[in-house]
């Protein structure tokens, strides 16, 4: 059993080993699972809320309005307004968009880079592999949040910088996973046959390795969306996220913190609960995907 990854033991709802019926399709396993149903529908709801919501409930999230600061929830403002006069419900949608944008973009980028890196490292092997893996080990050793704070302090924290920074610290997990899978695959007959027939490294990686590790990568990427959303929230809460008028759930809480004593609960609870719901949903989705794709992560 090995733990070094940033999210090794945190598998929550994994279906207990169950003999898989012959020819039962991945898709069938997925849709018959209540965990998958819950995870998928909540993720969809959050996405609809954040991206389609602003079309139905249009608010000004750019200009401050000091005539309407910190108003309690009412008919006009279902979740009240914040200290700059922004409508909190509208801000929750805008913040959700930023959180999901960063989460998904960072996870995609990290998975793409990590998959290639891991596949090359595992395929080439030997001293090159050893060297490439020490780089991964080093990046895993330094806690993500510290590196992220350092990067956010160095560069102006725009959304783009956030995505790059989170991807920069997250690609090592898929890299290590894919490297392990690649080493296992390399000794299989179909890859040996391919190499024997004269296929080069790139052909083997793109034709054989990547299709075979896709499941592992997809599951890991789903968890990384959840982790990236939490990282962005923590960073923004610490005041090192994208500056206003841009917002996300973490920066909303950073602002709300100042009015905790004033009992402005609508500045504290909605954004926090939004983070929890979204992160839970992505984790459930990851667990369900893992079950249906029959992927084993980080365990031996």
């Amino acid at each position: 059993m090995e733990i070094r990854g940033r999210r090794s033991p945190k598998t929550f709802f994994v279906r207990e080993a169950r003999p898989k019926r012959l020819r039962e399709s991945t898709w069938k396993t997925f849709i018959s699972s209540p965990v998958a149903l819950l995870g998928t529908s909540v993720v969809l709801l959050v996405v609809l809320f954040s991206y389609v919501g602003p079309l139905l409930y249009s608010t000004d999230q750019i200009h401050t309005n000091l005539d309407q600061i910190r108003l309690a929830p009412s008919g006009r403002f279902p979740l009240g307004t914040d200290d700059l006069g922004y409508d909190v419900l509208g801000r929750l949608m805008a913040g959700g968009r930023a959180s999901i944008d960063v989460g998904i973009a960072a996870a995609l980028l990290a998975s793409a880079v990590g998959t290639l890196y891991g596949a090359i490292s595992g395929f080439v092997g030997g001293a090159v592999d050893a060297m490439m893996m020490r780089v991964v080990d080093a990046l895993i050793a330094v806690p993500a949040l510290l590196l992220l704070l350092l990067l956010a302090s160095m560069f102006t924290p725009t959304l783009f910088v956030m995505i790059m920074a989170i991807a920069l610290i997250s690609w090592v997990i898929p890299a290590r996973l894919v490297r392990g899978e690649t080493i296992a695959l390399r000794s299989r007959e179909f890859i040996e046959a391919s190499v024997g027939a004269g296929a080069g490294m790139w052909r083997v990686i793109f034709k054989h390795v990547i299709p075979n590790v896709a499941g592992v990568v997809v599951v890991q990427a789903t968890f990384q969306v959840a982790d990236a959303i939490l990282l962005l929230a923590a960073l923004s809460f610490l005041g090192l996220g994208p500056p206003p008028p841009a917002t996300n759930w973490g920066s909303m809480l950073n602002q709300g913190l100042n009015y905790a004593y004033a009992n402005d609960w609508w500045l504290i609870y909605p954004a926090g609960i939004a983070i929890i719901i979204t992160v839970v949903a992505f984790n459930l989705l990851g667990d369900a995907l893992r079950d249906s794709l029959e992927v084993r992560l980080q365990r031996r």
Binding site: P9, K10, P143, L146, L147
Partner: protein, 317 residues
């Protein structure tokens, strides 16, 4: 065994080298180069002097050599913001963070171990699922938000505990305000409970299917005794190792907690440094935590190899 130790140590040295290299590269990626460490207002004379002293005007390999040399002498850099050496600052703030993290660890283990054992014993039953769901929710909850809610409920509404952590300079002064430690410790412990109880659960599940458990059952030993004596003793070792290895991550969690509760430890120091762009502190702290993490995992592997003979062979990198 010796071969394993040698290879493992060699790997760790290589990883430490990469961590150092990484921090060195980051210092050069600072906006404006290493001069950024002096702050925005540094005048050209100071910059020139700083570059000459630290060799930043030489070629990159020479700079890296000089950097290694300084590190080898325990020089982690100088914070011009605090006008103190980074090493000194870390040593000053370490005891307070150690106190916070220590209490959180103790409380976390105290709660997590029974939860993990209970879940493994009732695997697949309602209790197991309920606790798993609870763990997932707490795992998905930002620690700062949990802390914020605890402050609102217990400090503002009920007025049971102060919202600010102890401000004392020494360990004794901090401990003289136990009330003020409650909320920060609780908040930090919540995250550790989730992770530790998951470790304990899976470790117990692994232990419960071993042959010696079947033997014990066959001998007619009661289920309670099997779980608490036979399985737990074997399951606790891997858990403790994993718990030890998660220290760097708990430490980074302390950054958030210390900032929220204004607790003057290493985390608050690091956060302040990020806000005021005090790069020597940021780089020095990152380096120390990275190296400590590598050393910790090396130590864990060595101790594990000594404690569990089954692992001495057949381990691959």
């Amino acid at each position: 065994m010796t071969r394993f130790l040698l290879r493992r140590t060699g790997q760790a040295v290589a990883v430490v080298f990469v961590v150092v290299l990484l921090v060195f590269i980051l210092a050069h990626l600072l906006p404006g180069g290493p001069r950024a460490m002096l702050g925005l207002q540094a005048n050209p004379v100071t910059v020139r002097q700083f570059y000459a002293e630290n060799g930043y005007n030489r070629s990159i390999p020479v700079q890296f050599g000089k950097y290694l040399w300084r590190l080898a002498h325990g020089d982690l850099g100088f914070s011009y913001h605090y006008n103190a050496g980074v090493g000194t600052l870390l040593v000053q703030t370490l005891p307070r963070t150690a106190l916070l993290v220590g209490f959180a660890y103790a409380l976390g283990l105290l709660i997590a171990l029974p939860i993990g054992v209970l879940q493994a014993a009732r695997r697949g039953k309602f209790v197991d699922h309920a606790l798993t769901a609870g763990a997932l929710v707490v795992y998905s909850m930002p620690a700062f938000w949990l802390g914020l809610v605890l402050i609102i409920v217990f400090a503002i509404d009920l007025n049971w505990f102060p919202a600010e952590a102890p401000q004392g300079q020494t360990v004794g002064a901090v401990l003289s305000q136990p009330n003020a430690l409650v909320l920060p410790v609780l908040t930090l412990a919540a995250g550790t409970v989730v992770v530790f109880s998951r470790y304990m659960r899976s470790s117990m599940l692994e232990a419960l299917v071993q042959d010696y458990i079947r033997t014990a059952r066959g001998k007619g030993i009661g289920e309670g005794r099997i779980i608490w004596r036979h399985a737990l003793r074997n399951a606790i070792l891997p858990t403790i190792t994993l718990v030890g290895l998660s220290l760097p991550f708990v430490l980074s969690g302390a950054v958030v907690i210390e900032q929220l509760f204004n607790y003057p430890g290493m985390g608050l120091l690091f956060w302040n440094a990020a806000i005021v762009h005090d790069y020597p502190v940021l780089l020095g702290f990152t380096l120390v935590v990275g190296v400590a993490a590598v050393a910790g995992s090396l130590l864990a592997d060595i101790l594990y190899g000594i404690a569990d003979p089954r692992l001495r062979v057949g381990r691959s990198s």
